[in-house]
């Protein structure tokens, strides 16, 4: 009987050698450890053995069983590792195939830029104030110190609205967001006419100029203005505030310069140039080889404008500055055609 067990063990282990996959493994298990396997029939035949033989054979059969089970486990592991190694070797993707796309939404680049600008201004205490796009001549020009027929109006060619009656206060498409300065000042004055509160607002919005639509000029564009009015505001504050803004907007090292300029609604007025961030000031096509980029206009609020807003220029002073988000984007992203902005071509918009 013991010989038979030895034989069973020997044959089982031999056949296990050639087991190479999960199916063969299972077949081996059934054949060698299953209910009707020779080993099991030894166990089931134990009852027929003598009292002396029984423990000896039983123990020996058990040893064979343990041995076969252990070998089976180790062969199972080997088969599994071989199968894994094989599949790892075989399942190789061409990782250069394109990924699967997904349709996603995006903000218009102008909205993205407006948000950048407005979030910096918000941190500086300038809160968003919006006003209408169709305005009167009074709000767009006269109250902002553009007298009728003044040469300064040449700077802002205007779309007028058709009306039945001739008037010296025609309706027009606002040429800048500055009418909002008057709306805001008057609104703030109304809250406390005897001692109007200080103002710090940001005025974003669409503006319109009568221009031919070309790569360089458009009939509509966004503008953001900042306005600060108070009893204690100076040109030095204007310079400091703009320096802070420019640092946040264009980076720590952005050099800037203030050039004397003219706007009817500010005096003194200045234009601010920032060192060309494309070429670092060495001169390139973007800065027309000048090394500088004109990025905003600013100045101390003109006394006539303060008066129009209800703030006494003898007590109050203020500053304002304005800039164009589309122009900033054009400089920043090397966009050479302003018509992209309202062209609504997804192939442009998807790049932001």
């Amino acid at each position: 009987m013991l010989d038979k067990l030895n034989q069973i063990e020997k044959e089982a282990l031999e056949s296990l050698q050639s087991v190479a996959d999960a199916a063969a493994l299972e077949a081996w298990r059934v054949a060698n450890l299953g209910r009707s396997s020779p080993l099991m029939s030894v166990f089931s035949g134990l009852g027929k053995l003598s009292k002396e033989e029984k423990p000896v054979v039983g123990q020996a059969a058990n040893q064979v069983k343990v041995k076969l089970e252990a070998e089976f486990e180790s062969q199972a592991q080997a088969v599994k590792s071989a199968a894994l190694a094989k599949s790892l070797a075989e399942e190789k993707l061409d990782v250069t195939l394109p990924g699967r796309a997904k349709f996603v939404g995006r903000l218009h680049p102008s909205t993205q830029q407006l948000r950048r600008v407005l979030s910096i201004l918000a941190e500086m205490g300038f809160q968003v104030y919006t006003s209408r796009e169709v305005e009167t001549d009074e709000y767009n020009f006269q109250l902002l110190n553009f007298p009728p027929d003044h040469p300064a109006r040449d700077m802002q060619d205007t779309f007028f609205i058709k009306t039945d009656v001739e008037t010296d206060n025609p309706l027009l498409m606002r040429t800048h967001t500055s009418p909002g300065q008057i709306h805001a000042m008057r609104q703030f004055v109304a809250t406390n006419p005897s001692d109007p509160p200080p103002i710090r607002i940001a005025l974003p919005g669409m503006c319109f100029r009568y221009e031919q639509i070309t790569a360089r000029s458009e009939v509509q564009f966004n503008q953001v203005e900042g306005l600060a009015v108070g009893k204690n505001i100076t040109f030095a504050d204007l310079k400091g505030t703009i320096a802070d803004f420019v640092r946040r907007m264009f980076g720590e090292g952005a050099r800037l310069r203030f050039r004397a300029s003219y706007f009817p609604f500010t005096e003194p007025s200045a234009e601010v140039d920032v060192e060309c961030f494309v070429c670092g000031g060495k001169g390139c096509a973007v800065c027309k080889n000048s090394g500088w980029l004109e990025i905003l206009g600013c100045g101390m609020v003109h006394p006539n404008v303060l008066t129009a807003g209800g703030y006494d220029p003898k007590i109050y002073s203020g500053f304002a500055w304005g800039m164009g988000p589309e122009r900033q984007l054009m400089l920043r992203n090397k966009i050479n055609d302003i018509r992209y902005f309202w062209g609504n071509d997804a192939r442009f918009l998807e790049q932001f």
Binding site: G105, Q127, V128, T234, D237, R257, S261, P268, L349
Partner: protein
């Protein structure tokens, strides 16, 4: 305004300053130099990494290789009829130079010239512009044989030296040009192209710029009083006052009018140096008389006009000439110098005599009395005009001129006589004229001197700097303001070339600007706002709109921004509106009105893109414009959405995707509204949006309020667009309506107990809306039913005609672990209710 540096140097010493130094000073003080054009002076050489400051163009002339030379004889070329050989002396050696210049061809074979011709001579190796190339192409002069004659150098044209872009013939310099001198030393130049700000008309001339530069540099403005420098009048001539008188009918429009007379002029070309400067300044030399008026204007800023005295005298029948300035009569005609006949209106001002109009005041002279080759005697006008009137007239007749450019920015009347005297001096010099004694000067409206009082406190309060009255006075005196300390203030009087200084608080601001410019913006320190911070109120409307944008982007919509301006035709594809806000001066017919429909905007965008991709989802937020008769329009803000194309992006192994349809749009809108935290939403079939398919359109209600509509584009509307076959879904909302709704911010707690999921399918009549079935399930299940989701809609013969099967995925939930029997109880309750109220049958 183009200003040659050489001309500036007539009025200010610029030693020790580079061209760029000068340009920088001017730029920072409000006279922005757009470009520097080098015409002979050495161009700056930038080392690697060095910073540029200005847009720069032009050419520097090599001092060794380009010199003044004299031509002694013009000889024929042995082998070419059209070429000549010049005997030339360059200051060191005799040279033979080949040229084809037409302007000396007539001297060919004339033998030795009595008076040698002075020319610009370039030697071998000199760099010049190629005179024969189109545009400006640099070339280096090389030795060559031309028709058998050795050629190694040349006499230059203006094009070759970069003085003009085109030229005909070689430059013939003035006779006093020193032979052998490097040309760069003789007439090397650089031109500053300066933008003139609307309030700085005073610098639209050489003296004006020199004066500002003198103030900025602390150098002296070389006094060039035209009075002092004027040629003495020839006393034996009849004084002009006896020959001409002036009548000004409206001093507001014509504050001053002056005349000088010069006789026996010899009309010819101006000296070369004058022509060169005029060309660099952008004006075309005509004749010595016209050039003298232009030159004096460019130099001093006072536009002048030269009349042929004899024409005026003839018109007056030989009697005393009477010139009248007056408003034109409506319909009155004048032929202007440019040859055009112009019909005037009563708002135009003209200079006339008894016979009629002679000149359009401040804008352009008349043809009849213009200076011609035959002119002998010249009446020179210098006048002051109302700047607004000149600006309007120049626009009305589309006649921008150098004169109207200056007058429309304001020319101080004090300049009128100075200008005439300067002009007379130049005519005397260049045309050998004899200046008549006397001067005609009508000056009925002298501008008031602008006087402003300013204190150190004003300076501190506005500019943030501490200056003493003496320092303020010094800064202003440099700009020729008269300053006088009165008590603790400075009384400042503006100089008489300035019209831009006001009175009172405005005057103070005007003077503060001058102090800041003189002090230098760069020298003003920077500080942080110390003023009280206003209450921070935010802008809830703006913030809400930005939140809405974020939701839409998260739902896969691309934001677009369209033109506010559109055309009725374009919009009529979508909406039919009776009236629009119309532009009085549209830029183009397709941009003639302000939009009334944002749906039209997004549909236009879809049409534009449809060939360039497989799926588009766009949204736009912005105003539409609702007209109100002769009043400001309403500008309600809207949201419009459009979707069309594939539901999913295709890929190389996933080529098929369904088309977006009604329920894709509906699903997005459901998510949008839940993102806005709106509840109590219902959808109802609607045919009220005419541009949408009547059977595939729904209104959205919150409670009883309709907040918007969406659906598939009406086939007839779609026909009007160039779109693909795919359905087009559109939606439009009024933002004020959306924003006015009451959102809820509570949440449904998430249970810790496991939910039980169960599917049920019921068969109902086709006419029963799905919404009703779901509502009844929710109502019946109450809090036990956490979610109801339709997962299948099914129709077939087995179910029967006019029936449909709705299969729902139910989520049961309670604050305990639900048993099977608990679930069964809920289900039975629901099924019973559906059977009873909707005649539904449970499918198994």
């Amino acid at each position: 305004m183009k200003i040659p540096i050489s001309w500036l140097k007539d009025f200010i010493d610029l030693d020790g300053l580079s061209v760029e130094d000068i340009a920088r000073k001017l730029t920072l003080a409000g006279m922005e130099v757009d470009e520097i054009l080098y015409v002979g002076l050495p161009m700056p050489i930038y080392k690697d990494g060095e910073k540029h400051e200005f847009k720069t163009n032009g050419i520097g002339w090599d001092r060794e290789k380009i010199v003044v030379a004299e031509v002694r004889e013009v000889k024929p070329h042995p082998n070419a009829d059209k070429l000549t050989l010049l005997d030339l002396y360059d200051g060191e050696k005799d040279q033979v130079v080949l040229t084809g210049a037409p302007n000396i061809f007539h001297l060919k074979g004339a033998g030795k010239l009595d008076q040698p011709l002075k020319v610009a001579y370039a030697k071998e190796g000199a760099t010049l512009y190629d005179g024969h190339a189109d545009g400006q192409v640099l070339m280096t002069l090389k030795r060559a044989k031309i028709r058998g004659v050795d050629s190694y150098s040349m006499v230059c044209s203006e094009k070759e030296l970069g003085i003009t872009e085109e030229s005909d013939g070689i430059i013939l310099l003035d006779d006093d040009a020193p032979t052998g001198m490097p040309l760069a030393d003789y007439m090397g130049d650089a031109v500053l192209d300066i933008s003139i700000l609307p309030n700085m008309g005073r610098v639209a001339n050489v003296v004006g710029v020199a004066r500002e530069l003198a103030a900025l540099l602390g150098r002296e403005l070389k006094a060039q009083s035209p009075e002092a420098a004027a040629q003495p009048a020839t006393l034996n001539l009849q004084p002009v006052n006896e020959l001409v008188e002036i009548e000004i009918t409206n001093p507001e429009l014509n504050p001053r009018f002056t005349f000088g007379l010069i006789r026996d002029v010899e009309i010819k070309a101006s000296p070369y140096e004058i022509q060169r400067r005029l060309k660099l300044a952008g004006m075309r030399p005509i004749s010595n008389i016209v050039d003298a008026t232009n030159y004096a204007m460019l130099e001093l800023g006072q536009p002048l006009h030269a009349f042929d005295y004899d024409v005026l005298s003839a018109r007056a029948g030989g009697k005393k000439i009477k010139i009248t300035t007056r408003a034109a009569k409506d319909g009155e005609k004048i032929s202007t110098l440019d040859g055009a006949e112009r019909t005037l209106t009563a708002s135009n001002v003209l200079v006339g005599d008894a016979q009629g109009a002679l000149a359009l005041a401040g804008v352009m002279g008349g043809l009849e009395s213009e200076v011609t080759d035959q002119t002998k005697n010249i009446l020179l006008e210098g006048a002051a005009w109302n700047f607004i009137n000149v600006r309007k007239t120049a626009r009305q007749h589309n006649l921008p001129s150098e004169a109207s450019f200056r007058f429309s920015r304001g020319v101080h009347p004090a300049l009128a006589d100075q200008g005439v005297k300067l002009g007379l001096r130049y005519i005397a010099e260049w045309a050998n004229g004899k200046i008549a004694a006397g001067f005609v000067d009508e000056y009925p409206l002298k501008p008031k001197d602008a006087v402003v009082r300013i204190s150190t406190r004003d300076v501190k309060r506005s500019l943030g700097i501490d200056l003493t009255l003496e320092q303020i006075s010094e800064a202003l005196a440099r700009l020729e303001f008269k300053c006088e300390i009165v008590e603790d203030e400075l009384q400042v009087t503006a100089p008489n070339h300035r019209l831009d200084i006001g009175e009172g608080v405005v005057g103070v601001a005007d003077v503060l600007e001058e102090i800041a410019r003189s002090y230098g913006y760069d020298n003003i320190p920077t500080s942080s706002l110390a003023d009280a911070l206003p209450p921070q109120l935010g802008n809830p409307v703006h913030e809400w709109e930005e939140h809405l944008r974020d939701l839409l982007v998260a739902l896969g919509f691309q934001e677009i921004v369209s033109y506010r301006m559109t055309s009725v035709e374009k919009e009529s594809r979508v909406v039919r509106c009776d009236d629009y806000v119309q532009l009085a001066n549209p830029i183009a017919p397709e941009k003639s009105v302000l939009r009334r429909s944002l749906a039209a905007s997004v549909l236009d965008a879809l049409e534009k893109n449809v060939r360039n991709g497989e799926s588009f989802s766009f949204f736009e937020i912005g105003p539409v414009f609702v007209p109100r008769k002769n009043e400001l329009p309403d500008e309600p803000r809207k949201l419009a959405l459009v979707m069309s194309g594939l539901r999913e992006a295709t890929a190389w192994d996933a080529k098929d995707s369904a088309q977006l349809d009604f329920f894709d749009m509906k699903g997005r809108l459901e998510l949008l509204l839940s993102g806005l935290r709106l509840t109590n939403i219902s959808y109802a079939a609607s045919d009220s949006s005419h541009y949408l398919h009547p059977g595939k359109c729904a209104e959205i209600k919150i409670g009883e309020k309709i907040i918007g509509a969406f659906g598939e584009l009406h086939p007839l509307v779609k026909e009007k667009y160039e779109l693909s076959e795919a359905p087009v879904l559109a939606a439009e909302f009024d933002l004020a309506t959306l924003r006015a709704l009451n959102p809820t911010y509570g949440i449904t707690p998430v249970s810790e107990f496991p939910p039980v999921y169960e599917d049920i399918a019921v068969v109902v009549d086709e006419t029963v809306p799905a919404e009703k079935v779901e509502a009844l399930i929710r109502q019946t299940g109450g809090r036990s039913v956490a979610n109801v989701r339709l997962f299948d809609l099914y129709r077939d013969e087995k179910i029967g005609a006019g029936k449909k099967s709705l299969a729902y995925n139910l989520t049961y939930q309670a604050e305990k672990t639900l048993t099977d029997s608990d679930a069964a109880a809920i289900r039975n309750k629901i099924v019973k209710r559906l059977e009873k109220e909707l005649g539904a049958k449970l499918r198994s």
